[in-house]
Symmetry: C4
Subunit: 199 residues, 4 copies
């Protein structure tokens, strides 16, 4: 089965999740800069979630570029990932509207943790299907980032009961670590198709 | 007429329906785990509807992979299916916010029943157009699942007036039965295009 | 310029408009069938708008299948059509929530009238670009339906101040007239590519 | 890496942003034309933002048509543009619901300014990657419009504290300037592929 329609569906769900979050931003009732400043937890949560969903889209994009086919379990692992990503707007709103209160911040971290594990599982299924010698397997390599992220998320979830600012800082750190796109896959693809300047 | 744009439109509608449901999740006003626990009927309804819409996307995907062309009646049967799927977020919210009260749960089942019948009708039109010897026809075969689901939905609708938990359990059972993707079509496609490792 | 991306964008906007309408359906607060019965103006408005947007998608689909290229004015005429279609959820909610009161029903008709004129203008630009001997031109022919619809909408708008039920009946009649997809274009395409069983 | 999926994702985000704005339109509670007239700031803001997002889609479309490949920085510059475009519905609602009060109007201008700078940065990265002799570079040329727009936005933001009507007029002027699609790229493409009547 080809990857085309799974990519299209994933893109649609991520694009919708990233965009509908803006609908959760409550319109300030006041018309002063103060009103906007008071909305900073909401806006900061939005920025963080936008970047995180953007990273998922980006890495998902890279991974599927290097994938030649999908099967039933991969489709379901992908839907599982999309399930957790679709919950991001919900926890983002809860955390933002309560100015990073402990429990909503922890819940935000739990959804990110679940999404990270779902991505890891999806990647594992693709590598198993494509084989250890495939582009994806070579590109992922030891996957330090993939293994480090869940650990950091667990630390962040714990921290949210001590200092939710520190927890958010940890979540933002994970995002920064991932902001560097998977050049490994890009390099792998370039090595495999050295003279291909486009699709 | 090619199936491409009908697939794209269906994917978009299902992707949107699956994602906007999260907008119906009311942000808890409290910031305790209790608030999240009190939201369990809403969250459980969301999970169930996400899985059901995911199954529809998946099977729709498989069916159209094996379909080579569409005509007017198929386009309309497809829109009819999308109509009922688009109502899922509405009944999901009604059922979830009222903690599985009888009538909302029955209404949830009615929409699922209508969607199942619409899918069955769409499948019938595609088989009639493609011919009894086509991949789709061979893959669907006797279609036990397709015939069993409406019966189970009717039972679930009836049960919702006795015990809405039992009704939800029946709806979840139908989902579990379908969770196994249509391997038959996958097998049919593989048999028809044995040396095709992806589009 | 190719029609591909314009089709994709139009599909996305129409798919979103058709699906987000369900977000405008207010969840009944009650849990009785009465609550659902009281929601009938809202649900009926939803069904009508769903069918109308489905028709636009369908005919837009057919028209662009027969179109080989687009230019700047066509892109803008298309955006103009999408603008009016994007307002359909707004007028649908206003009309439904006020149980077909005169002014909201007339406003609903005005948006449908504007969309019909925008479609007519888009079609005219495509025919001018493709030439009078093109498949689109031959398929549209004298375009009785395209010329009749605005007249019926004007009648419906007028009627909404006498009897809004009659007005809605007129709007529904236009939908029924169009429900028969543009077989002319299908026939034209088949004649032009007689041995083409797919994309 | 090909431009296909980046185009698809951008289209989806812009299509969603353009369409969900209608969800921000508050349904008038009254059923009179007065109610609709009182909603004119909301409706006017919607029209302006629809046109602006339509322009972005259109020019983005043209630019990527002339682009043959994307790399990591381009993907991120694109996401950065989409971030600001995704905030348009938020500032549109704030400005519209407060009838063009100074601060919301200035905030609206700030988001437009940021989007314009993000587009300019994206364009710069694409030209650097494609080379100075590329179709995109030739088509953009001295890019008077791209350089003028941020200046006009800054003027508009300043004006919003003196007369928000004048500020909105400036924002609308920028839109009008851009309404003429990038014929330069179209001409460049035609020159490069003179006998190509579509993809």
């Amino acid at each position: 089965m080809s990857t085309g329609r799974m990519e299209a569906f994933s893109d649609a769900v991520i694009a919708i999740a990233i965009t509908v979050m803006v609908l959760e931003l409550p319109t300030p009732h006041d018309t002063t800069w103060h009103a906007l400043r008071d909305a900073w937890p909401v806006l900061l949560s939005y920025v963080l979630s936008f970047v995180i969903l953007g990273i998922y889209w980006n890495n998902h994009h890279h991974m599927l570029q290097a994938t030649t086919r999908v099967n039933g379990p991969i489709l379901w692992a992908n839907l599982h990932l999309l399930f957790w990503l679709s919950l991001v707007p919900f926890t983002t709103a809860w955390m933002g509207e309560n100015a990073f209160a402990s429990v909503p911040t922890a819940a935000y971290g739990v959804v990110l943790l679940a999404a990270a594990l779902a991505y890891y599982a999806l990647q594992g299924l693709i590598i198993r299907d494509q084989g250890e010698g495939s582009i994806v397997a070579a590109a992922v390599g030891r996957d330090l980032k993939g293994k480090l992220s869940p650990v950091l998320y667990v630390i962040g979830i714990g921290l949210s009961f001590l200092s939710s600012r520190a927890a958010v800082a940890v979540f933002a750190t994970v995002a920064l670590v991932w902001l560097i796109p998977d050049r490994r896959i890009e390099r792998g693809l370039t090595a495999a198709r050295p003279d291909d300047g486009g699709e």
